[in-house]
């Protein structure tokens, strides 16, 4: 009778043990996602291997759910033991499931995610490239002379006396351009350009501290204004206005 009982108990224990072993591997598959989310970064490695195994063995999963509490410790052991197989499985079939929530994968996915994101970022990059291409055309329409003139009148970065003095010098230079276009003065284009640059430099030096945006606008309009001044037709049109 004793032998019977002992053999029965050992057989039962054996069965139980086998049952434990099987569930261990699949366990993580069913539960890994939730515990690992809450667990943090320490357990991801053990759980990671399990997930692929679980993915590989969907059928045992239901049985494991019942033993969830006891399987927690063994699962880690099994994870370490079968990590190679698990990773192999993850690499092969579990890749899809691993992407979802495996901690080990989460790192890899997180690192991998940016890569896919990079291409998507590349689209913005191209957009940035487009924006980089846009600045080129921006200088062309930069010249809004009436607006620029009004802004210069309104700015508080330049005092009244200084504005009046600048206006005197602008009028003097315009007179020289007029004489140049009418061939009434022996002034060369180079000299006019030098005077123009000097005057613009004065304006910029007055604006750069008190009104940087206006200084930038004036600076960006430098060539456009020069084109307008040096072209007889445009200058005539400007003089009329």
């Amino acid at each position: 009778m004793r032998h019977m009982a002992i053999s029965a108990i050992s057989a039962f224990l054996l069965l139980v043990g086998c049952a434990h072993e099987k569930p261990v591997a699949p366990r993580p598959a069913a539960t890994p996602a939730a515990p690992q989310k809450a667990g943090g970064a320490q357990q991801p490695e053990t759980a990671a291997p399990h997930a692929p195994a679980a993915a590989a063995k969907p059928s045992p999963a239901p049985a494991d759910t019942e033993r969830a509490p006891s399987a927690a410790v063994p699962s880690s052991r099994a994870g370490t033991g079968g990590s190679a197989a698990a990773t192999g499985a993850a690499g092969a079939t579990g890749s899809g499931s691993a992407k979802t929530k495996v901690p080990g994968r989460s790192e890899s996915t997180s690192s991998a995610a940016p890569q896919p994101a990079a291409p998507s970022g590349a689209a913005p990059g191209t957009a940035a490239g487009g924006s980089a291409a846009r600045p080129a055309p921006s200088p062309a329409p930069a010249l809004d002379l009436p607006s620029l003139e009004q802004r210069l009148r309104d700015t508080r970065a330049i005092g009244v006396f200084t504005k009046l003095s600048l206006k005197n010098q602008v009028d003097d230079l315009l007179g020289e351009f007029r004489a140049f276009h009418r061939r009434q003065a022996a002034v060369t284009v180079a000299e006019l350009r030098q005077k123009y640059d000097l005057l613009l430099l004065k304006v910029l030096s007055l604006l750069q501290d008190g009104d940087p945006p206006l200084a930038a606008a004036v600076s960006s309009s430098r060539e456009a204004i020069w084109e307008m001044l040096i072209d007889p037709q445009k200058f005539e049109k400007l003089a009329r206005n």
């Binding site: 005092g159 200084t162 009046l164 003095s165």
Partner: protein
């Protein structure tokens, strides 16, 4: 006493508002005068004091000791004369 009050008040207002050295607007005006003098090609690193002689008419003293008469002439041009 009542009759003298308006006279005294107007005198004070006149003293503060007209003539004499600049007060509230001094920093801005000093910068304006310094910039105007520099625009005319004359040396003035900083205006330390300025006296208003009239409408658009100032006498500026620079830190280096130079004094300038800055005014707007009848044709609307800003003139800077070294004193």
């Amino acid at each position: 006493m009542r009759h003298h009050a308006p006279v005294v008040a107007s005198a004070v207002v006149a003293a503060l508002g007209f003539g004499g050295s600049l007060r509230a607007e001094e920093p801005a005006m000093s910068k304006d005068l310094a910039a105007t003098i520099a625009l005319q090609g004359m040396t003035c690193d900083k205006v330390v004091s300025a006296t208003r002689n009239g409408d658009s008419d100032y006498t500026a003293t620079c830190r280096d000791g130079n004094r300038y008469h800055v005014f707007v002439d009848s044709s609307g041009r800003v003139v800077v004369k070294k004193l």
